[in-house]
């Protein structure tokens, strides 16, 4: 059987098995379907966490979408969340800026802290939280406004600029940092939707960093883009790491390998394995993770 990931990481598969799957070549049906409880393996904690999640459960009505997840997001780190469709990775990052609050019937349990402060505490205003934890979505969603106004939007609602000059400065530097300024400097007054898909997504990133968040959540930011636009976004993520912490959900394992330092593998609402990206891809501990990264499931 062809195993692209194996060859990419130069490993053939005759390594010694980890304790969880030692002596077993196949997973039980319960494990495949996620009907049993996994204990997360690998490094769930981070030495310098900016976000720490402890025992998080998410319910949509009666359905449990996230089951007892514990995970840290490190400062100035890119962590990628991978896993099959419907495994809860998008739901999980939407807990980190309380976007799940906007969904009727969603309920989040557990202790989630940003810089040590619990974000689900009663006195926390989710609106202010979202200014500190920005989000970029799967489909580029520029507002029906000009390029300039798209980036100025966040700065305006949070009153970050006291004058037009300051606003210009925020807008232009955000576009610059998003690698978009050169392409749009003569098109500031054109609608954001007139840009190409990749430019729109970088516009959405510029819009997010204009608010100067501490963490940026990215929910499959490249899934609607072509390979060239994807490469630009990936380069951008690498640069943004200097100033921001980033959690990125992705379906592309190559992308996860390229952009992230840590990788978390989700399966049926549970966090199966976390670790340094290299380790997860070349030497996964858990059998489910191995099956996924080698392309056997997912």
């Amino acid at each position: 059987m062809l195993k692209p990931m194996d060859t990419q990481y130069g490993f053939i598969g005759n390594r010694s098995h980890d304790p969880y799957v030692a002596g077993r070549d196949t997973l039980s049906k319960e494990e495949q379907d996620g009907e049993c409880i996994f204990e997360t393996v690998g490094e769930v904690t981070s030495p310098d966490p900016i976000i720490s999640v402890r025992n998080c459960n998410v319910f949509y009505g009666d359905n449990q979408a996230i089951n007892n997840v514990t995970l840290d997001v490190g400062r100035n780190e890119v962590i990628s969340l991978i896993g099959p469709s419907g495994c809860g990775k998008s739901t999980f990052i939407r807990c980190l800026n309380r976007m799940n609050d906007t969904i009727e019937g969603a309920r989040v349990e557990g202790d989630i802290r940003l810089d040590g402060e619990p974000i689900y505490a009663k006195e926390v205003d989710p609106v202010l939280l979202r200014a500190r934890v920005g989000m970029v979505f799967q489909k580029p969603n520029p507002f029906p406004k000009s390029v300039y106004e798209n980036v100025a939007y966040g700065a305006r609602i949070h009153g970050l600029a006291r004058s037009r000059a300051e606003l210009d400065e925020i807008v232009f530097s955000s576009l610059e940092r998003a690698g978009l300024y050169a392409e749009v400097k003569s098109r500031m007054d054109e609608p954001g939707t007139s840009l190409s898909g990749g430019q729109q997504q970088r516009l959405c990133i510029a819009r997010t960093i204009a608010v100067n968040p501490e963490v940026i959540l990215m929910d499959e930011p490249c899934s609607a883009l072509d390979p060239i636009a994807t490469a630009k976004i990936e380069d951008l993520i690498e640069e943004l790491r200097q100033n921001f912490s980033i959690a990125i959900v992705t379906h592309s394992m190559q992308q996860a390998a390229r952009v992230s330092q840590r990788t978390a593998y989700f399966h049926m609402g549970q966090l199966v394995e976390v670790g340094a990206t290299d380790t997860v891809f070349t030497n996964p501990i858990h059998r489910l993770t191995e099956d996924y990264v080698t392309g056997r499931i997912g």
Binding site: R130, G134, V136, F137, P142, P144, K145, T193
Partner: protein
């Protein structure tokens, strides 16, 4: 031959034609080598045959309806005595009417003259003959058409394309009916208006400040010559619809925002249909409500506040009209706001905007073209509304901008001008058409401006 018989035979021929065509095509398809298929399904061959059977005969039937009776009447007139034929046209029409009545077998008042009886007989005979002719023509045309089309079929005949283009022609005809009707309405109003403007100068009509159309009803009466300044009417229309829009726009928009953004699906499912019930209340009922409930309330309120509010006032009519058009604004705005993609809201909320900031700065701008469309629909309802104004705002064409006084509107005046028995060529009656035309032009200009505004400020979100 009775028309229903003709139609039944016609339909039977078409059905036979359809199956004959289909059968022939099926036979061809059986004769084909394995693995090859015909260009068109047998069904289309059937439709093709049916089409050629149907079209010529339907033209004959339509021709019979539009011209048949005229042809027979011409012959009847030719057979009338000379002294009758030489009567003036209006008298001749009366005679023809008598003939028709007798021919229909109805009792006429008094003894009808002999020539009427014989003319009626020849009318009936002519009609009988013509319908027989129609029957034969329909049978001949439809069966010949079917046969020719059927003979034309072959294994690789492209029946499907022919049928598709026939459907296209049908659709074009349906569309042109709507367009032609509009043009017809415009011209019917236009010609009467031209007659009106021959009697009353255009300038006096458009800029005159006094509306008092009381002219002599008949030419042998003595009466004033009337004055036809339309400004008070348009002012009244503007004021009442303006009040209605001032009520309906903000409330309707707020209702729409509440329904689409703040409430749960369950509340929305109850409230929205209830609101739409408002749109189903007949305007006459709104009229009672305005005249019997709102107007006295306003008057009492005015008394206690030291204001003179007449019991028929622009304010009362405008208020109730605002309630009437509320569902148009709220329902359409709600649909439009709902169709703004959730990703827009997520994007804004994800930046730390509150729900109301998101609505004001992202959702409403994205929904604006549709909302303006809803406003326009509501405004045209308000301008064209008549019953509420008749009952609650009165008939007095007063030149005022005080909403507490009685005023009247263009539509109300059109109704009062056309009700009653005036000669149809008096300026008083014709003024209705002048008003109608002006109202039509005004709303047309409003629509054009609004379309332009919508196009200019449209913000694409997909």
């Amino acid at each position: 031959m009775r028309l229903s018989t003709i139609l039944l035979v016609y339909i039977a021929i078409l059905i036979i034609g359809y199956f004959a065509g289909r059968q022939k095509a099926i036979a061809y398809s059986h004769a084909l080598d394995a693995g090859r298929t015909m260009h068109s399904l047998p069904m289309y061959h059937g439709y093709y045959v049916l089409m050629w059977g149907a079209i010529p005969a339907i033209i004959a039937i339509l021709g019979y309806f539009f011209m048949g009776d005229g042809l027979v009447l011409d012959r009847v007139i030719a057979g009338l005595p000379d002294e009758v034929r030489s009567l003036p046209e209006s008298r001749l029409n009366l005679v023809l009417n008598d003939i028709r009545v007798v021919a229909a077998g109805a009792e006429t008042s008094g003894e009808s003259e002999a020539y009427i009886q014989s003319a009626a007989d020849s009318l009936n005979a002519g009609r009988e003959f013509l319908s027989l002719l129609l029957g034969l023509a329909v049978v001949a045309l439809s069966s010949t058409g079917c046969y020719l089309a059927w003979r034309n079929l072959s294994g690789d005949f492209r029946a499907r394309n022919r049928v598709e283009s026939a459907i296209q022609v049908l659709l074009v005809m349906a569309a042109s009916i709507a367009v032609l009707t509009t043009i017809g309405i415009v011209f019917s109003v236009l010609f009467e208006s031209i007659r009106f403007f021959q009697k009353v100068p255009l300038f006096d009509f458009l800029f005159g400040l006094n509306w008092s159309p009381q002219t002599a009803i008949r030419s042998d009466q003595v009466g004033s010559s009337g004055s036809f300044g339309a400004v008070p009417l348009f002012l009244g229309t503007l004021m009442i619809s303006g009040i209605a829009m001032i009520i309906a726009l903000p409330i309707g928009l707020m209702v729409a925002i509440y329904l689409s953004e703040y409430t749960t699906a369950r509340v929305r499912g109850v409230v929205k249909p209830l609101l739409e019930v408002l749109a189903g209340i007949p305007t006459v009922v709104y009229g009672y409500f305005a005249a019997l409930t709102v107007a006295p309330l306003l008057r009492d309120f005015g008394l206690s506040a030291g204001l003179q509010i007449s019991s028929e006032s622009a304010l009362g009519a405008g208020l109730v009209m605002g309630i009437m058009i509320l569902p148009f604004v709220s329902s359409i705005s709600d649909d439009v706001i709902n169709s703004v993609p959730q990703s827009m809201r997520d994007g804004s909320l994800g930046l730390g905007a509150t729900r109301s900031e998101t609505i004001r700065r992202v959702v409403l701008p994205a929904a604006l073209p549709g909302i303006v469309g809803g406003f326009l629909l509501a405004a045209s309802r308000a301008i064209g509304e008549t019953m509420i104004v008749v009952m609650a705002a009165g008939l007095a064409a007063k030149m005022t901008i005080n909403p507490l006084e009685a005023v009247t509107t263009v539509t109300v005046q059109i109704v009062t001008l056309l009700v009653g028995d005036q000669e149809f060529d008096s300026p008083k009656t014709l003024a209705a058409f002048g008003l109608g035309l002006t109202l039509f032009i005004v709303t047309l200009i409003l629509n054009i401006i609004a379309l332009h505004v919508v196009r200019k400020y449209r913000e694409q979100y997909d």
